[in-house]
Amino acid sequence: MGAYILRRLGAGILVMAVATFLLYLLVSVSGNPLANLMANPHISPATIRAARIELHLNEPLLQRYWTWITGVVHGDFGISTTGQAVGPQVLPRMWVTLQMVLPATAIAIVLGIGLGVMSAVRQYSILDHVSTALAYILFATPVFVIAILLKDFLAVKVDTAAGHPILYTIGQNNPGTTGAWSVFVDALAHDVLPVLTLVLITYAGWSRYQRASLLDVQNSDYIRLARAKGLSRRRVLYVHALRNALIPVTTVIALDFAGLLGGALITEIVYGWEGMGRFFYEGLVGPVTPDVNVVMSYLVVTAALVIAFNIIADIAYGLLDPRIRYA
């Protein structure tokens, strides 16, 4: 098992190296961060030259990439075009993004698997039909439309009825709140809508897949045999069928995780959270573009997360499926 993990990590690092190289190239050629300075006639050529050197733009592209990657390996993510170090900003922003992603993933897994199992067990019941219809509609709706609808129909209505904000639509907290309990409640109030948005676009696919997988297993021979032997339906379901039905869903969830992070990016922007996603977006699109080091920091962190999550899923897969033994 340990050797398997190491192999996967190695492969993952290799993929990350290539991916970062390609993306570094793409981001670097997509604009000139000095454009704003150059456009201002009051700024002397000497200042522009100094800025160019500070941003390493006088070096060839490959050398810049090398500087960057060697820096990253040492934990130094470089300087952003605003002059601030990128590294120290990554951790707090990562924490903000995780405040949305972790609860959303957990809830979506529980909801997805739970609803999937229930739909499969009560196939063609009202519950099944309703959750099927809901899943289809959620598949077909872009994430920002869901966010807008939630804001206008849930948050505004609840908050106006209450007279003061309960569900927040902007930011991940009220800056300047003090006191551990207040901070926690404040964060929770800000969490509800974004997490709900992410859950809504994520759980449906997993529940459909879980339903299909469990139906498939329930129709298989060994389950029929277990029932024929006289085991109760409940025992057959929870002890035998479910464990096998969870296996394909695990892979689905693992592979979907990257997509969930992508959805989190859009959700962060819509709700104004100060997380990694918005960091990336502002670095790519913001006033001074492109901010290569900022964009690349996001890519590194995201890729690392995806690879880590995939390894965890593989371990879970190995635990669930006794036929899989990692050499």
Binding site: G31, N32, P33, L34, A35, N36, M38, A39, P41, T82, G83, Q84, K151, D152, A155, V156, V158, D159, T160, G163, H164, P165, L167, Y168, T169, I170, G171, N174, P175, G176, I269, V270, Y271, G272, E274, R278, E282, V285, G286, P287, V288, T289
Partner: protein
């Protein structure tokens, strides 16, 4: 900068980010925390010498997208808003929120269209004049600006006017309408001017030049502005429709801000360009825009290949003139010449929009760069 702090954090780099070590304030509030590009928190300054402030905390949030403002106000998260370029939809969405007022004031920023005179067609005065006469600026005001004023008070719609001076804004005393007849909307005359410049109306409704690279083909020009700004997009689309009516085909070709102002503009890679200038009380700042492009050291902001020696000499006169009255008349003469040369086409002033909660007292909008917090020490929650 305070020496005792500079010693601790380093003079060169220590002040680039905000941190507890660089917390310095001489005013009623001090900065508690600052996350670049995201938010800034102010709390009362305990060492302030003046009267105590009424609010315990002011939070400034930088919201990326204006459309996020309305739900945030409705839910009570945000009490004051100040969009960079308000759109009609924005003003409408705020209008219906209870306990929330809005104020729209004329500002110092104005939108305009520039002509690149290195384009062989725009080099002809008649063509530029035709474009000016064919632009229905009143229609632009009516659809883009006036409704914003109306959201505060329907009678205010008339406060939105076309701009007829590039150097002074209507709220500045020296303002004069120096445009003469160059800018009154007259599409018939515009078409005649185009014909006099050597164009004939084609069967598809577009003019066809008898000279130059587009000879025998539809007369088309491109217009560029910053992408992603709805108001500018709207200006372009109305402009496009106006030009179609006089036989000019307009292609909209937008760029992001750093490309537009970094390469496209300075290198003259455009036919028509639309953006905003910010006026200031110091009219001399206009010289680099309108003096002859051949003078590269001074006139770096003249991207239009425009040159008029009379304008240059008037600028030189005005710059050395310390008398405000004669100064103003010189600048107005310059502007009159700019109209005659049709160097650029001013459109309208950007309104400055403030929305603020009526739960607080003493919120007084301020259209200058200081903004509404100019009297933050007087803000208080109404009983």
């Amino acid at each position: 900068m305070p020496a005792h702090i500079a010693e601790k954090v380093g003079f060169n780099n220590g002040f680039q980010t905000f941190g507890p070590a660089v917390k310095v304030s001489g005013g009623p509030y001090e900065i508690q925390s600052y996350t670049k590009g995201e938010d800034l928190v102010e709390v009362p300054n305990p060492k302030y010498w003046g009267p105590k402030t009424h609010l315990s905390k002011i939070v400034y949030r930088f919201i990326l997208d204006d459309s996020q403002d309305a739900p945030a106000i409705s839910s009570g998260e945000v009490d004051i808003v100040n969009p960079v370029i308000p759109s009609v939809a924005y003003a409408d969405s705020i209008k219906s929120i209870p306990n929330f007022a809005a104020s729209v004031l004329p500002g110092l920023e104005f939108q305009h269209v520039d002509f690149n005179e290195s384009n062989p067609y725009l080099a002809k005065l008649a063509v530029r004049e035709a474009i000016a006469l064919g632009t229905n600026r009143t229609q632009m005001i009516q659809r883009i600006v006036a409704p914003i004023f109306s959201t505060v008070n329907p009678a205010d719609a008339s406060k939105a006017q076309v701009l007829n001076n590039r150097i002074y804004m209507p709220i500045q005393p020296p303002y004069q309408n120096t445009s003469g007849t160059s800018a009154t909307f007259d599409p018939t005359k515009a078409k005649q001017l185009l014909k006099s410049a050597g164009m004939t109306m084609g069967s598809d409704g577009y003019m066809q030049p008898s000279f130059g690279p587009l000879k025998g083909k539809d007369f088309s020009l491109s217009i560029s502005t910053t992408s992603g700004v709805p108001v500018r997009q709207q200006i372009e689309e109305l402009f496009q429709a106006n030009m179609k009516a006089i036989g000019i085909k307009i292609n909209i070709q937008n760029y992001d801000a750093s490309t537009l102002f970094g390469t496209v503009g300075p290198k003259g890679e455009f036919d028509l360009i639309e953006f905003a200038w910010v006026s200031s009380p110091f009219a001399s700042g206009n010289q680099p825009i309108y003096c002859s492009y051949t003078n590269t050291s001074v006139c770096g902001e003249n991207w239009d290949h425009y040159a008029d020696p009379k304008v240059d000499s008037l600028f030189n006169q005005a710059l050395s003139d310390l008398n405000p009255t004669t100064d103003a008349s010189l600048y107005n003469q310059i502007d009159g010449l700019l109209w005659k040369d049709m160097a650029t086409l001013p459109l309208f002033e950007n309104p400055v929009y403030y929305g603020y909660s009526t739960k607080y007292s003493n919120l007084v909008p301020n259209p200058t760069s200081v903004g509404i917090p100019w009297n933050a020490q007087d803000w208080a929650l109404k009983a």
